[in-house]
Symmetry: C2
């Protein structure tokens, strides 16, 4: 089985191609704000580097968040398009689980933490000591203080913090958890492209592949555009039936 798996939920996009469980090409690139124009040519290039063409791919996969709204929307839409055009299945996976997998087999608990702006983080707590990561705190959006309180309530063990949220809130984490908080070398704060392949394959083997139309981003909170739209409607006297809880 040939797999293309991407992650565009942070400012570091990843693209990986695997054949029969073995990664043959992977790319990580700092996208800043230029991803949309670069994603398709970079995908084509990585597939070509792997010695393949788009039509050779049997499974398309994308992280579905949480993370950058624009990034995830672009990544998911690209994978939807590729799967739809080729008639191949697609799967989605968690960006936080992918990041946590930088520490596969770790006997230390892992807190992947992405900067969600507005003094919040997307975070979770995983046990990766066995082959399948076990979430102890599910993916969510938190203030740094709240996730640290949840972690302190959940465990007295050391925890490795990684991701751009862990870099940004390093001092708050250190102050709260003291020597129990561990921080990796800088490159380990970026997702590893090939982790996406492992997650894609595991999701597919769990029979959780979906139709392209069912591959949906998980934003965990409303976008600024939605919040502003809702504010305008509310101030105009509208009530929401399906208001996010």
């Amino acid at each position: 089985m040939k797999i293309l798996a991407i992650d565009t939920s942070t400012s570091f996009a990843t693209i990986a191609v695997a054949v029969e469980n073995q990664v043959v090409a992977e790319l990580l690139l700092n996208t800043n704000r230029t991803l949309s124009a670069r994603l398709i040519p970079e995908i084509e290039r990585v597939i070509a580097t792997a010695g393949l063409g788009i039509s050779d791919i049997d499974l398309f996969a994308s992280s579905i968040g949480p993370g950058s709204f624009t990034g995830i929307r672009g990544g998911v839409a690209t994978i939807q398009g590729l799967a739809l055009a080729t008639g191949k299945p697609c799967v989605g996976f968690s960006s936080l689980e992918m990041l946590a997998m930088n520490f596969s087999l770790s006997s230390t608990l892992i807190c992947p933490m992405l900067d969600a702006r507005k003094s919040e983080v997307y975070a979770a707590l995983y046990n990766l000591s066995s082959q399948a990561p076990i979430p102890l705190i599910s993916d969510g959006v938190f203030s740094p203080e709240d996730i640290l309180n949840e972690i302190a309530a959940a465990t007295e063990e050391p925890v490795i913090f990684l991701g751009d949220g862990a870099v940004r809130y390093h001092d708050i984490i250190s102050n709260r958890l003291a020597s129990r908080a561990r921080f990796p070398n800088y490159p380990l704060n970026h997702p590893r492209p090939s982790n996406a392949v492992t997650l894609a394959l595991n999701t597919y083997l769990s029979e959780k592949s979906v139709m392209p139309s069912e591959l949906l981003p998980i934003y965990l909170r409303a976008s600024d555009a939605e919040i502003n739209h809702n504010k305008r409607l509310t101030s105009a006297g509208y009530q929401f039936v399906n208001e996010p809880s």
Copy 2:
């Protein structure tokens, strides 16, 4: 400081570019036997993906082995050429230490193991629980049985085995160490491109950068060509003053 760091010691070549300790682009590609023609264009492409040119790079780095003779020679020669032409410093680092760093901060001991053919492996044993990896068994060439005996004598703890040597000799390792032997998900058997950047920077900061002419491969054993050459000379009656010990 802008760093280009490559590893060509296995069938998976890696190229990574970092700016101020932060990786901005990294590529892993399965090279099989086609590396020599692809290395320079792929390096140019990754540097361009990072938004840089060759002349922007301040430090050039390559793994110096152990591993594939042809791969290492090509990688080292390329980095020597780039450093010489630009007048910038270069550094070398161990391919096994780079591979072990897939498990940075692991509290489990790590045995990186590369297939050296001829029923041998290049292997070592590292403790990566602190930021700087500590070698417990230094990089060497061993029969699978010999390295497992050395590991059994050195520790009673679990050990994570990774690399193409660990994949090839999985059953021998499992039989010898039983449940103490751990094996990662497949992609973790490949070196992570950005680990090379971390090693390059650490080597540079330890003031161990070298002149291009001093960047020398560490093969750990003689190549087939040397062995055959020596056999021919010996059978012709020559004595070696500097015969490898």
